[in-house]
Symmetry: C2
Subunit: 203 residues, 2 copies
């Protein structure tokens, strides 16, 4: 078989990735927001996340010195502000004010959550690793909160309502058609039919 791939210079082409706002603060100072696409879940038990931040970003030293960061998931309603927080610097802009975002206290944290966002994960830094252009911060999720309007009658989080945004090679996208659920490829026919129907109806 012929080699079907065209070789490329190595780059950052893993996609789609999340696009999240990371809020941070030092005691007695204005909080800041930095937009991050190099973010992910790295452990399930205990729940842990990582974010990678360029050393020259204003938020870098705040996160390093405070030892905490708050990941705010981003819905379509927050997209313009999220993009803005990715291009402007907290050195000369109060991003909460400029975007009209409400800083909301997180129990035990100096950094506030972004009040308009669907869900936040407040993380305590466990390590910082220098990788080159970015420093990799690992953190343990210590507090998590969800916007009340995303909880349905049954007490479950309705993630569809969050209208989350994905980042794909320089562009932001809505999540589109639901294609399947984890395990759908081996599900029994009746389970598959029932759950796919639920999924397509947005439940």
């Amino acid at each position: 078989m012929a080699h079907p791939f065209v070789s490329l210079t190595p780059g950052t082409l893993l996609a789609p990735v999340p696009a999240v706002m990371v809020s941070c603060a030092l005691p007695g100072q204005k909080p800041n927001i930095v937009t991050i696409a190099w973010a992910g879940t790295i452990n399930s038990d205990p729940p842990m996340c990582s974010i990678s931040v360029r050393k020259e970003r204003f938020s870098h030293d705040i996160i390093r010195d405070s030892g905490e960061f708050v990941i705010n998931l981003c819905g379509q309603e927050q997209l313009k502000g999220m993009d803005f927080c990715g291009v402007k610097s907290g050195r000369d802009t109060d991003k909460f004010a400029a975007c009209g975002f409400a800083p909301v206290p997180v129990p035990g944290f100096t950094a506030p959550a972004v009040g308009e966002c669907p869900l936040y994960l407040a993380c305590r830094v466990t390590s910082v690793q220098e990788l080159g252009s970015h420093d990799l911060f690992l953190g343990k999720v210590e507090q998590m909160g969800v916007r009340p309007d995303l909880i349905d009658e049954a007490g479950r989080i309705d993630f569809g309502k969050a209208r989350l945004v994905a980042y794909n090679h320089g562009n932001y996208y809505a999540l589109g058609e639901a294609l399947g659920f984890f395990g759908y490829s081996v599900a029994a026919p009746d389970v598959l039919e029932r759950r796919m129907k639920q999924l397509k109806s947005g439940k």
Copy 2:
């Protein structure tokens, strides 16, 4: 202002995240595929990725002992196989054969890429960190390849054609409407209009 968030038990709710197939192999043995959602870009220069793998997964020791892993981005056409590779174990299933995937050699790597996937990033492991349920593998991207049909007349990669899949809280989604490009919130009106038109037309 009242606290607008409902507190939740900390969990792995960062979303959307990528859903990728990671291929791996030891010399002289059949290659394996494991599906990973705890994956991300962690550094731009040099390009680096991380994946988190449970110790009990068959691929865990293969990746640790070989010191390499290949991230294969997943399009809608590969979704059923990708889901299958997340629920079955390579201990008792030849996943390349079961899914009809072609193992394609990657220069300098023992692990093959998945021939059907839009793009692969072959990574050399630089560290392994025990976090609890998962081990975090960091890797440097050393080889990257793209399917030739994704390269357009101008020699650029047409990422829209890849039809990548996102993972959002247990379900797989197509990428939907294009909402903006990095920097759109501060773009000049003429740039904004031109680029949004391009984006909406899928270019």
